[in-house]
């Protein structure tokens, strides 16, 4: 067993932060896009979904161009006296970008299922657009949005290629579990690779089971309210 367990905490911190970011951005983008139609927006869909179809190395390379010292975003950070590349935030950026499409696509599908008449009803009852969204659209789209969150988390937790390109493999700072496994195998330390693999499977199962249990709890408490009524 390796003395340094930091990949666990880095992986969890990275994927949870990335999931939180994609949750907000994905739902915002989905809600915004949901009310619009036209060829330009269809093109935008393509851009939003691109990280899903591109090889992670390509995503990583593009991010490197964007966030590198000479990249448009990188220069802004440089002017502020910091760099993003090869730092922990880079792992979050890489994980967020690759998991965003999953959140976006499922949130859109879930929001499209909500009867627009219900949103109209909320409006006639004096609700602001925000209130109509978070009190009516969101709760009704919740099962789909939960599914999207799980998928995004799973994708972020397993992220490897883009992270390696943008954040590198710096033990204790950017080395996530997938990176640790890859470099263990490369160094021919099979036991270490196996250890991290078991940890990865264990954490994934525990989280997925936890989410499942939690959603079951939600629906049984709902059913209890229904019976009481």
């Amino acid at each position: 067993m390796p003395a340094d367990l930091s990949p666990i905490w880095i992986s969890l911190a990275t994927s949870l932060t990335a999931t939180a970011i994609t949750f907000v951005l994905g739902i915002t983008a989905a809600a915004w896009r949901e009310r619009r139609s036209g060829p330009l927006f269809a093109l935008l869909d393509g851009v939003f979904l691109l990280p899903l179809v591109l090889p992670p190395t390509v995503v990583g390379f593009l991010l490197l161009l964007l966030f590198g010292r000479n990249g448009p975003v990188g220069r802004i950070f440089l002017a502020m006296g910091t760099t993003v590349v090869f730092s922990w935030p880079a792992t979050v950026i890489a994980a967020s970008v690759v998991s965003f499409p999953l959140m976006y696509i499922t949130a859109r599908a879930a929001l499209a299922q909500v009867d627009p008449e219900l949103i109209n009803a909320a409006r006639t009852l004096g609700a602001s657009e925000w209130r109509a969204f978070h009190r009516v659209a969101m709760p009704l789209a919740a099962p789909g949005i939960l599914a999207g969150t799980i998928l995004s988390f799973a994708r972020a937790f397993g992220e490897f290629g883009a992270t390696l390109m943008l954040a590198g493999d710096i033990p204790g700072r950017t080395e996530t579990i997938p990176l640790a496994i890859y470099f263990a195998v490369e160094a021919n330390e099979m036991a270490r690779a196996a250890f991290w693999s078991v940890i990865d499977v264990g954490i994934s199962l525990a989280l997925l089971f936890g989410l499942y249990y939690w959603s079951q709890l939600q629906s049984t408490s709902r059913a209890r309210i229904e019976r009481a009524g």
Partner: protein, 359 residues
């Protein structure tokens, strides 16, 4: 109390161009599907923006295309009962009713919800979810939710169409008392003639996005202004007509001359009479008004539970291949008394019941 609606809206299949003012009496909007009834309500509620026009509720301008005024739906204070009720399926009855009261203090909110629950006989159902309610109950919750915000106008979109027939009369009764108690303009959209007549005081007939008739409901039914309105209000009998002299017309398709009481202020192209106003005389001598009485033969009869529709041929016995000239509707009791009598029977076309149409 008034709701002034003057709107134009171009839509894919038709264009809407309306101009009417609803007062304090409930206004029924009757029209075939696709006439723009629901679209009209949506424009008034602010869910759809008209291309041009003006909507004024009491003294509040809700929409004015020239002055660039377009009050958002949430500030219009217009209660809209959606055709499918649009209840929030994840909220209980109480939560649904309280939805529009979020800016009201909690104890006042509870009080207002209570009042709607009582007024619409929903006590005991507070913590139910919409899917656990019957159709009639769902409709009452939707109504309570719309009324809870104390709207200044109430718009009902096909309020009874989602209900089973046996529930309708009961729910309709409730709806009538709600409408009677409501202080503000109320509009009821329906495609059902009888519902329109029972729920409205005033009536507006809509065809292809235009106002085809507007006025007190008795007037609209008694003297429909056009052939379309006559048809939409359920009239079955029409004949081409020509003016013979003042107060006298020739009904070409019925083959008879008729005295009419309606003043002839417009050209007369058609004459009409409603099926239930065709009267069969008990005696065969033509009674006191022989000039409106004609011999007739029954060609066909079609039964409904309480009434019977008779298809009539006037003046002479029908020959094979001939079409009936008139449709009469009578109660079964009368049919029972008449049915074995030999033809011809005698039918009377009341001068007050015959109306003239300019198209």
């Amino acid at each position: 109390m008034s709701l002034e609606v003057h709107i134009e809206k171009r839509l894919q299949s038709y264009s809407l161009a309306l101009d009417f003012t609803a007062g304090a009496k409930p206004l029924a909007i009757l029209g075939p599907s696709g006439a723009g009834k629901t679209m009209t309500l949506r424009c008034i509620a602010g869910l759809v923006t008209p291309d041009r026009g003006r909507i004024v509720l009491d003294d509040r301008v809700l929409f004015d295309s020239e002055k660039k005024i377009n009050v958002p739906s949430r500030e219009r204070r217009i209660g809209l009962l959606f055709q499918n009720y649009a209840l929030f399926s994840h909220m209980t009855v109480s939560e649904n009713i309280a939805f529009g009261l979020d800016r009201v203090a909690p104890d006042e909110r509870a009080h207002k919800v209570r009042r709607q629950l009582d007024a619409l006989h929903l006590a005991g159902l507070e913590s139910r979810l919409p899917r656990e309610l019957s159709g009639g109950e769902q409709q009452r919750v939707a109504l309570a939710r719309a009324l809870a915000i104390e709207p200044e106008a109430l718009l009902l979109d096909e309020p009874l169409s989602a209900l089973d027939t046996h529930l309708r009369s009961q729910v309709e009764h409730q709806l009538l008392s709600t409408l009677a108690a409501f202080e503000g303009s109320s509009l009821v959209v329906t495609h059902n003639i009888e519902e329109a007549y029972r729920l409205g005081e005033e009536m507006l007939v809509l065809t292809k996005g235009r106002v085809a008739a507007f006025g007190p409901k008795e007037e609209v039914f008694r003297r429909p202004p056009t052939l379309d309105v006559a048809r939409l209000t359920g009239c079955k009998n029409f004949s081409r007509a020509a003016v013979i002299s003042k107060g006298m017309i020739e009904a070409v398709d019925w083959g008879c001359r008729l005295r009419v009481s309606q003043p002839m202020t417009q050209p007369v192209v058609h004459a009409g009479i409603r099926a239930h106003q065709i009267d069969f005389l008990e005696s065969t001598d033509g009674g006191a008004n022989p000039e409106h009485t004609f011999p007739c033969w029954v060609m066909e009869a079609s039964e409904t539970p309480f009434r019977i529709t008779l298809y009539l041929k006037l003046h002479s016995a029908p020959r094979p291949g001939e079409q009936p000239q008139l449709q009469a509707e009578v109660f079964k009791e009368k049919w029972q008394r008449f049915k074995d009598r030999p033809f011809p029977w005698h039918v009377r076309l009341d001068p007050d019941a015959v109306f003239l149409l300019p198209d």
